[in-house]
Symmetry: C2
Subunit: 291 residues, 2 copies
């Protein structure tokens, strides 16, 4: 039983925090929007007034926030986690942000004798609710071992990918495949429909061989049924593909496919589809087809 602080109770954070409560841990929570903490308070979580206060009352602080700037502010900013952390306590950042920012944060915390892990996840809200998330973890091996039971309380598969930042790099590799497989699924089903093929039969046939992907099998049927509720939102995948672009730029790597996917997701965002699940990329391509 650990005293855990949890900051960021959005679509992903809230179900992850719930699973920690269910596993018997004590929880102190903070969220910018107070209304999101009420359900957890009802389940026994304590409330804190700032990230600093969360840190003061916890052995391990977990953050699950939208973007690099949010994580930096919550951990290193005024009244932030770093100001409240006791020596030898731990920070786990489950957000998907820049690996370089993760390294910067880890170094800052180490100067204060606090170790940290970057541990972004894949599996979406369904995975968070059912406890089937995959964690990509970066950080020291002994810190990883100490936190392993917490990962297992929130998810199913846990991979230690290397030192600080390496979890985040693995997550960006993951998102490259997610983005391109999603685009492939969209374009295949657009052609299927225009050609007059039965879309369900097409998904079934394509799933038997070299064309198969998680995106096709899981999101193909959502496109066919026009089920675009999130899950994982267009705006979040767009943000992840921006991170891929930035990191590839820094590493002087080409990212032909990932950049294209980002451009199409930007178009989808600007077309008002931000809040839809990622299968709504199909809708963006429909609009581009009908011009």
């Amino acid at each position: 039983m650990t005293d855990i602080g949890f900051i960021g109770l959005g679509l992903m954070g809230k179900p992850m925090a719930k699973r920690l409560l269910m596993a018997g841990h004590r929880l102190v929570v903070y969220n910018r929007h107070q209304n999101r903490v009420e359900e957890l308070a009802g389940l026994g979580a304590q409330l804190a007034a700032s990230p600093r206060e969360v840190a003061e009352r916890s052995e391990v602080v977990i953050t699950m926030l939208p973007d690099s700037s949010d994580v930096k502010e919550v951990i290193l900013g005024h009244n932030g986690v770093a100001e409240g952390m006791k020596r030898d306590c731990l920070v786990i950042d489950c957000s998907t942000i820049s690996p370089l920012i993760e390294v910067e944060i880890a170094q800052h915390l180490q100067n204060n004798h606090v170790e940290s892990l970057d541990a972004p996840v894949t599996g979406g809200t369904t995975g968070a609710e059912s406890g089937t998330l995959t964690f990509f973890v970066g950080g020291k091996a002994d810190v990883y071992k100490r936190c392993f039971p917490l990962f297992k309380a929130m998810g199913k598969e846990v991979f230690h990918m290397g030192g600080n930042g390496m979890g985040s790099y693995a997550k960006l590799c993951n998102q490259i495949c997610v983005g391109l497989n999603l685009l492939g699924t969209c374009e295949a089903l657009m052609l299927a429909r225009r050609a007059g093929l039965d879309p369900d039969k097409t998904i079934e046939a394509l799933s038997t061989g070299a064309a198969n992907s998680w995106q096709l099998a899981n999101f193909g049927p959502k496109m066919v049924r026009r089920d675009f509720k999130p899950g994982f939102k267009i705006e979040h995948l767009e943000k992840d593909m921006r991170l891929v672009d930035e990191v590839c730029e820094q590493l002087t790597l080409p990212s032909f496919g990932a950049s294209l996917v980002r451009e199409l997701l930007k178009y989808a965002k600007n077309a008002g589809l931000s809040e839809n699940g990622t299968p709504a990329l199909f809708v963006a391509l429909e609009r581009l087809a009908n011009r």
Copy 2:
């Protein structure tokens, strides 16, 4: 037991023809390059001097050829299959070519009281050898039913996708996914290596969730081990993506992703990688990265 003619004994055609022989059918074969027929002759296949002669001696003629022009010439050209076919015999074209050409050929044959199916496959040489190919079949339902046992002798999964041409459309949908999932696998593994991640561990971790694909699971390890022998060649996937481009143009559909994949495959071809297996797209991207 059927008298089957088989034309086109390349990397795919030869193992498919062998499986028909093994299933007990009589086989008459023709190939432009005579040296390719010898092994089949040794197994009991009869040789013919032209596609026309193959047709004269068969109830069902199967073709497995590289491109639209080859199929048109072999079936409709001088000394071609159409000249030799008897009434109520059947043609099955397993080549991956334009759906519009398939429809044109089908109509021409129907005028001579010959029915045909387009039945392109997925599964590569491994699938052809092990009899695990998937067939996407277009044509009349009763013709499909008559030919079903032949498909089962050569493959595992058989899908009747609709009328003539629909098998070919389904195959192009398949190739859109194949191409984009392949590109995603390449870009993810390029980033993994540049970031210093263990590539095998990255494949293992990504395979557990939303990033998973047949291409990642099967060709990711080939990229890591630099195993680029064919299998399915760069030049053949480039040809298929050209067909996708052409068909999307005809249907006024955008093909952002598929067109990009085609451009990168063209680059790979021009860089001397034509004869390599498709995982060699990784090598093409390495060269683009090192400029």
